[in-house]
Symmetry: C2
Subunit: 343 residues, 2 copies
DNA sequence: GTGAAAGCGCTAACAT
DNA sequence: ATGTTAGCGCTTTCAC
């Protein structure tokens, strides 16, 4: 039906040139054992006959795929698309393809994705966990078969799988300390599911910063939601209802911080004079929002690149990551107008 | 090395259960011809023995991959990540995987990507052209082999390949007419490479709108660049140097419009009072920028979904797209503060 | 420098 | 309802 002509194989080329399939196979791979002239003849014939390499046959034979699987919560976030861009770059430079799938923040889908990746026999797997993943059992087959598994951003302490992250605790500590330094003492924290390590660590950083500045921690200042635009606005509404307004807000991502800020501004709150606001990630929008948002620069592209490179190193055995368990990338606190209370 | 244990095949299962490989194969596929009890036994044994399906062998045999290739200019734009999210959704619902690669706006890379996709024997290919693609020869092999090829957003009139787009001419016409309606008569247009149809059509829409409102077209009001943040700012700098300021700007994407707006604002220009600004795409940032940006809603997610669905329909022959040559999605003009000159 | 032959694991046509 | 058989196209070991 779809295949208009019969596929040309190395046998067809061999027949035409009075060679064996083995020679053609070697010739196409530029195997130095094959005569230069023969190689050229083979290449020419292949070209002329419209030959195309069959990677299944090759994969089947070689037992590897040169493919890396990636499972992300969602493709359509600034952070993820940057990270994926970095991965694609590193992978394609090393001759690997990427199979990308999204879990839509659901463990059920993540499980299916993992199974598909497993059956597709990816050489390795890169994962950023979904929002609601509790069990890690769907990754067990990879461990069992010795397929390298690497978590990035939303990591887990799962088995011996290494992860690539930033120091979320420290980053949060820094940003909250900065807020305190600007005179805030009544700081709201908006964050995500505490079973995701990144949010837990940020929360801990927040608490520690308060503690170290002898500011009592207050449960009612913490909002745990999915950090979406909607939830950011909802948190703002909730805050506005309170008898006493906070003087600072630290949200665990930029999108949420900004939608929260937008809602507050619409209700006449002055940022940063009334309330200072800080986010996390350094998405492009943080420089578009007014006032510009103080945030943590989380190098997403570099993260993706590093993740893919690390995995590929394991694949080629050029390095053993078995001893390292986490690769911590550098982050930076970026102070902008949204938190500058004093001149 | 990486494979700790020998792979289990259907033959192993067959031997263990005293069945033939064919029965096991059918059983695993839940073929109704196979006895319920047998099917259960097979499933149980497969599970217990740690069997995993070998898709290469299957692909090799079936001559198809259930995989769709996607080539995009860049992954990390709001528009593309939305579109990809839509594709991934449609594809995974139909049991297809996606192989995604980016051309980095270069024809050379696009050509390599196409070759890889071809060798990976994708069942179909979705393409949004790179900025500098001039020749389409790298898609010829797909046509020749009858592999469905579908362009989206950055389309081309290539051969009989259909495309999924919006009516860029009309959208641009509408937005420029709106600017004129707000009192603008001196309207800058910032757009992209004119060999990309989308930008050409937008340019034409701009010209036609001027014409229909008897405003003379002026060459010096047109900026052709790559529509990046940098170029948006550069265009603003250039505009600021001019003796006479324009009273309106229509940029062919939101990112460029917003960076242009930021630079103008920094130089004391009032938006929209001095200059009204409109963008294109309805990226999230268009609601974050101040003033909020007037733009065209380009339904990226739906576009991706429609593209994947259309391709899959062709694959399953459930529809013949050979007659249709373009699927035009609806767009909407979204008027926001950045162009409201009059109350 | 080149060839013969076997086999990777699955599926489908054809049998029974 | 299940089995037999052949073959998808490539790689690789062992020969010469």
């Amino acid at each position: 039906m779809r295949h208009l002509e019969k596929e040309v194989t190395i046998y067809d080329i061999a027949r035409k040139l009075n060679l064996s399939a083995a020679t053609v196979s070697r010739g196409l791979k530029n195997n130095p054992a094959i005569n230069q002239t023969t190689r050229k003849k083979i290449a020419a014939a292949a070209d002329e006959m419209g030959y195309r390499f069959n990677s299944f046959a090759s994969n089947l034979r070689r037992q590897r795929t040169d493919t890396i699987g990636v499972i992300v919560p969602r493709l359509n976030s600034n952070f993820m698309s940057e990270a994926l861009a970095g991965m694609e770059k590193a992978a394609s430079e090393a001759g690997y393809n990427l199979i990308i799938s999204q879990s839509h923040e659901s463990m059920i889908k993540e499980r299916k994705n993992a199974a598909t990746m497993f059956n597709s026999r990816v050489d390795g797997l890169l994962v950023s966990l979904s929002y609601d993943t509790t069990s890690m059992e769907h990754f067990a087959p990879f461990i069992k078969k010795g397929i390298p598994l690497l978590f990035f951003d939303r990591a887990s302490g799962y088995k011996n799988s290494p992860s690539i992250i930033i120091d979320n605790f420290k980053a949060a500590y820094e940003i909250v300390s900065h807020l305190i330094g600007e005179g805030c003492s009544n700081i709201v924290h908006i964050t995500g599911n505490q079973s995701r390590d990144i949010y837990k660590k940020r929360f801990e950083g927040y608490k520690r910063a308060l503690e170290d500045h002898t500011i009592p921690f207050r449960d009612d200042l913490v909002f745990i939601n999915n950090l979406s635009r909607q939830e950011g606005a909802a948190a703002a509404e909730e805050i506005l209802k309170r008898p006493q307004l906070p003087d600072g807000i630290f949200a665990a991502n930029d999108v949420c911080a900004i939608s929260c800020m937008q809602t507050l501004k619409q209700n006449g709150i002055k940022i940063p004079a009334d309330i200072a606001i800080a986010g996390f990630n350094n998405d492009y929008i943080s420089t578009v929002a007014e006032p510009n948002l103080t945030t943590i620069n989380y190098p997403a592209f570099e993260l993706g690149e590093a993740a893919a490179k690390t995995l590929i190193q394991q694949l080629t055995n050029s390095s053993d990551l078995e001893n390292e368990n986490a690769l911590i990338l550098k982050h930076q606190l970026i102070v902008r107008e949204s938190t500058r209370k004093r001149q």
